[in-house]
Symmetry: C3
Subunit: 153 residues, 3 copies
Amino acid sequence: MRPEGKIASLGIALPEPPAAVGAYVTHVRTGDLVTTSGQLPWVNKVMQYPGRLGAEVTAEEGYQAARICCLNALAQLKAELGSLDRVRRIVRLEGYVHCTLEFRDHPKVLDGASDLLVEIFGEQGKHVRIALGIYAMPLNSPVQLVVWAEVGE
Amino acid sequence: MRPEGKIASLGIALPEPPAAVGAYVTHVRTGDLVTTSGQLPWVNKVMQYPGRLGAEVTAEEGYQAARICCLNALAQLKAELGSLDRVRRIVRLEGYVHCTLEFRDHPKVLDGASDLLVEIFGEQGKHVRIALGIYAMPLNSPVQLVVWAEVGE
Amino acid sequence: MRPEGKIASLGIALPEPPAAVGAYVTHVRTGDLVTTSGQLPWVNKVMQYPGRLGAEVTAEEGYQAARICCLNALAQLKAELGSLDRVRRIVRLEGYVHCTLEFRDHPKVLDGASDLLVEIFGEQGKHVRIALGIYAMPLNSPVQLVVWAEVGE
């Protein structure tokens, strides 16, 4: 099953791609690569789970926040490409986790995005990843994600 | 008007591209992409506005620091390409802001770079962006920026 | 001398490429670029020098940690390509240093990776670099590195 069919069969409705919060754009294509701006966990313009992992936000909530960021990133890719069926593979996920000094479960949080990518794209959804614990995040977001994808056709 | 003409008409004098502060180079081309090392706000080898946003550095000073970093990044691109007229588009801006825990105005700071890119390159200056609040910055710099550009011809 | 011969002449034994610590892969190729996931200083599944630069970890230990991360990154590139002789050039090093607020010697730490890349690849080992001081690192790692390389042939 291709990505758009998979999304439908999972009952996922992609959101409208969130707008930029500054003087930039939310997605760009260069050659066969598409990449997004840093995605935050917006749902209908309300940030989900604001705060820091290890303090106001639990690891399970962080997992959900990462999943929401990833849905927004996929909406950006779709806005660039018209259809996610044009994605040949997901290349890279940059995962920035807003957290306390003692927090160590960045990988569990970011699996909220990585798991979704593999659910939708299968083997082609597997990507390299960086995971960093960030001190201060724009708008007090719990997570910020960037997705890089390779385009086919 | 093309980028070099635009820079002249704006009365901007690009600086000498700053040297690396370690065992690396300041710009590289791979395929049709050119990318820079992390750029700091050097003016004539003096760092401007050292310190943290939210503490020693105001948001307006941060905006100016981001603009200076971006001028240095453009100097690196020009050193790679000979002329900024060879830039087909600006692709990505990585914006790292040295700040306190409570600081939230990362987007306003980084607009100092993004606004400059759009002034010079117009529609082709629009880029994706990440904005992170960084705990400890090399040399106590207030901002560090990376620019990715796509080359034409 | 080509990279594999150089590695042998330096008496370096590349490790097994470390496994991912989450739902992702450790290396990917897109077009002529290969990039790795964030590499940590594992030696035989034991993290070397855990903690923060400026506190539990000295700058010299950080240099060694960065060198170990880089060896692991090279093992990932070799797993993707079969031989490091297929690397046309090293493109970019992302250097994330786990540190205290006052720590400033990020460049010295990351030279542990950059020096190794130039030892092995010579002029083709020179790369652009970002250097950031990170507040909280997965698994309390002192350093996390990403290497981007361009593939020849």
